[in-house]
């Protein structure tokens, strides 16, 4: 209150520094600034830039890129092709992971199994694609084993099946480890209580586990869908990139790096992003329809 001017402007307010500190904004908070600026500059800004760029086509009106995408079968078919791969792969991965995780959670030495499963995630899709090309190829071990059982050669590479199998091989470990962490987070005493009250395993699963798992399952479905929807290296290497596995990421890549039309490439990337967002919203809405209520018992 010594300075008349400041005192007059804010007679009872403490200095700005103190007011900010009371709201937890001080020197320590500033430590977050570089990382936040980095993400804003290299993630948020490029996204907005891409969105605007997609409305500034090389020729035609502001919607020309989108109009072109949805009028040429060569382009709009990629959306359908991608869904045809991503939806079955996601459903297989997530719904197979539930019964497996229910078994594995009772295992004492889980770590061996989880370590084996983390290997394909770490190696990545390019290496899995190269391995599957040899393993599933016409002279590979898989077809040789089938021949032992008297089954003729099955074509599993350079087509839809090759990409699907690679999506399962690199995707299942991910969904499984995620589901496992949700399942082990459920308090076992809840199930024991149901068991004491005479509920058989099937009823315990549907009435205790599933409702508690709904939240995690929805997140798991979202994450694995988004990952399978953006399949790229295996669709090129293991699939038929000009034909039945010409997914949307290939269309985006070709626009950017073969036609050098960055505006069109941004438009395709935006369409890809909105398709992913659409499915995520659909999954979250579906979860609310199926299960409404408190989600407790998870450690998350």
């Amino acid at each position: 209150m010594t300075d008349r001017a400041i005192g007059a402007a804010a007679p009872e307010r403490p200095p700005l520094r103190i007011r900010l500190a009371l709201r937890d904004l001080d020197g320590v908070t500033l430590l977050a600034v570089p990382a936040v600026l980095f993400v804003l500059a290299l993630f948020v800004y490029p996204f907005l830039y891409g969105l605007i760029l997609s409305f500034e086509p090389k020729a035609g009106g502001w919607l020309a890129n989108y109009r072109k995408f949805f009028s040429e079968p060569f382009l709009y078919d990629t959306v359908w092709t991608t869904f045809r791969l991503a939806v079955p792969a996601t459903l297989i991965n997530v719904f197979l992971s539930i019964p497996v995780a229910m078994r594995v959670r009772r295992l004492q030495r889980r770590r061996v199994l989880t370590t084996i499963l983390v290997v394909p995630i770490t190696l990545g899709t390019v290496l899995i694609a190269e391995g599957l090309l040899t393993y599933l190829g016409p002279q590979g071990w898989f077809n040789r084993t089938l021949a032992l059982f008297g089954i003729g050669q099955v074509r599993l590479v350079h087509n839809y099946m090759g990409v699907m199998l690679s999506l399962i091989m690199s995707g299942f470990p991910f969904t499984f480890l995620l589901t496992l962490s949700y399942v082990t987070g459920i308090d076992p005493s809840l199930e024991q209580a149901a068991s004491t009250l005479g509920a058989p395993p099937r009823a315990r699963f549907w009435h205790i586990i599933m409702p508690l798992l709904a939240q995690g399952l929805a997140i798991n479905l979202c994450l694995s869908f988004v990952q399978t929807f953006s399949v790229f290296p295996s669709a090129v290497l293991l699939g038929a990139p000009a034909g039945e596995t010409r997914v949307i990421s290939i269309a985006a890549y070709q626009a950017a790096y073969e036609q050098y039309d960055y505006s069109m490439a941004s438009a395709v990337a935006m369409i890809m992003g909105f398709a992913q967002l659409f499915v995520i919203l659909l999954i979250l809405a579906g979860r609310n329809l199926l299960y409404r209520g408190a989600v407790g018992g998870g450690k998350g």
Binding site: R23, D24, T29, L31, A32, P34, A35, F38, V39, L42, F43, Y45, P46, L51, L96, R103, V104, R106, R111, T114, T115, L117, V118, I121, T122, L123, G124, V126, L127, I128, E130, L133, T134, Y135, W141, F142, R144, M169, F174, L177, L178, S181, P188, E191, S195, P201, G216, I219, L223, Q227, P233, L237, A252, A256, A265, S266, A269, M272, G273, G298
Partner: protein
Amino acid sequence: MVQDKSIGERLWAIAIWALVIFFIVNVIATIAAVAVDSFGTRWFNSWLPVAFTTHWYKSAWDEFQLRDVLIVTFEVVGAVVLLSGLLGVPAAYALARRNFPGKPLIIVLFLLPMMIPPITFGIPLATVLYQAHLGGNMSGVILANLVPTVPFVVLVMIPFIEQIDPRIEAAARVFGAGTGRLFMHVLVPLLTPGILAALLLVLVRTIAMFELTFFTAGPDSQTLVVTLYYAVGSAGVRSNQSIDAMAVIYMITTLVWLLLALKFVDPTQIVTRVKREAAH
């Protein structure tokens, strides 16, 4: 806890385990096929190659200029690890210790680059980097790879920092330590296991990060995984065995670091980090 009783349940359990074993056998066979092929002389129409040799490793080394590629890979990975630590750890500290308005928004901001697949944001990002004359060289590759790793370090480190007793820091402050000295002498020593785990995972992820490197790399800034992609894509031109020899070198460089990382983290943590934060 719960014993299986009926025959139906027992069959169901057997079916599940059969599935798990089938899956693991296929994963192992896929990886083994690469390794066996890289040591084989000729492999056609038989279970195993006719004879074994190591000369594909020498030819792959020369053919793909693996010495240069490995140097580039480790330069990129080293820079990404260092920078994501320098940017991520202080930010995680601020987010763990302060509860300022808008913090949930910042958390979402850090979650998005980890949850949105690199293919989706990679093309706009590469466009911006090329416009800034950062595309097609090492700095562009490093910047692009930092986009998912900085948020990753932040989100991994927040729980590590939260479990440190704030009174230790208060004591250091009482004795006159500023934020800089607090970091160097109190926090970094206490956080070493957490930082090491986070940075090792960043290292493994960056070696295997295909999409972002692929979109931003020029001819002199390709990492090993991108070189592998181009080699597999041109399978008719290159001999398959030398491609597989490179694939084995790639596997070794990745798995060595993974094994090291697994000393500090549980395998499930590699994927569940996203979920823990998403649940909040």
